[in-house]
Amino acid sequence: MSAEEEHSDDIALAGEYVLHLLDAAERKAFEARLVQEPALRDLAREWEAQLALFAQDIAPVTPPAAVKSKLESRLFAAPERASRGLRRWIIGGMLALGVIVGAAVLLPVLSPPVPSLTASVVAEDGSLVVAANFIAETNTLEIERQAGAALPGRVLELWLIAADATAPVSLGVLPEDRAARIALSDSLARQMTGAVLAISDEPPGGSPTGAPTGAVLAAGPVTGV
């Protein structure tokens, strides 16, 4: 293929990607290229912008109010937490009005509780980048695979290596979706502070032994936000 043909092939490919027309294998291969090729990312973004014009024809429809409340309780945890959250916002409002001085003392209370700890699990060569945010309120680890993917026929498994631990503990196999959410037990959640997260290359279904069996592809320390 000439350079020009290759370019028009990429234009069509990026369009197919944005339209979700590629099959799973093609999509994965394209995403792997996206990580390394800024020009391809630009093509995909241009298609997104151009094709989003189709949506201009779509009339807005106000969703029922219940959707918002369900959404907020889904994201911001249990009802009793919500009232605590509300109080926090009221205090925030008073602060903004200058009613309370000494904001520095209150700031830790006011800062939104999500997330409390964070880690960037990154391969040395940048070929795999996974962001992890730990939400202490709900013992949830939110995972976002920002670059890279499992090798064909393999999976990525996430490990927690606690500060004083002698062996990694599996947090599970990362799904094909870029974003995932992992519910941690109380004991695992307590080990997040000062831990290291790592990702290893494993057979489908994850490590059969309970310890990493494949190469450790990426790692990163858990730090405060």
Partner: protein
């Protein structure tokens, strides 16, 4: 309705974990995004669930948002469309009745919405008009109905590879016209 800069500012605030900004962003954009989910899914209950998924993704991904000169609505609409496609594909994997899905989703734009279409949209339309009617229809269906090549091939009664060649050619022509 909030302007482009307002929406951008809200997304950036949400990226910092600001729940009040999240609430404002929802109020400013949920109707449009719900419209997109409804249009693609043609099912109210599913569209409501999907709208929640969209805003969960907004909450999780806002810290990754960068405008790069593109409209923040493009970002939001892309999230809404992707979440709807995920649901459509899951639904279609569960049922084989492709015809039913097509018949349901045959609604055109409302006249009112047409009137507010922008000049950019007109440009897309005029470029689509340069394609053969079948081909531009296929591009539109893919975007708005989330059709796969398999579904398009069945609809136009052509082999899958032919369908793919058609659509790729149409995309190249479209792109060439849009960049003129």
């Amino acid at each position: 309705m909030a302007g482009r800069e307002d929406i951008e500012k809200m997304i950036l605030q949400v990226g910092l974990g600001d729940r009040a900004a999240f609430s404002s962003l929802y109020d400013a954009t949920s109707a449009k995004l719900f419209g997109v989910c409804l249009r693609m899914l043609n099912n109210r209950a599913e569209a409501e669930d999907t709208l929640q998924d969209v805003f969960v993704r907004v909450w999780q991904k806002a810290n990754l948002y960068s405008s790069n000169g593109y409209s923040p609505m493009t970002w939001l609409i892309t999230l809404a469309r992707n979440a709807s496609i995920d649901r459509l594909r899951a639904r279609r994997a569960a049922t084989v009745d492709i015809d039913e899905v097509h018949d349901l989703s045959d609604t055109g734009p409302t006249p009112e919405a047409d009137a507010i279409a922008s000049s950019e949209r007109e440009r897309l339309n005029s470029c689509l008009d340069e394609l053969e009617p079948d081909r531009s229809d296929a591009v539109r269906r893919t975007y708005l109905d989330g059709d796969s090549y398999k579904e398009l091939a069945a609809r136009y009664d052509v082999p899958l590879n032919t369908m793919r060649t058609w659509l790729r050619r149409s995309l190249l022509k479209l792109r060439e016209c849009l960049s003129r």
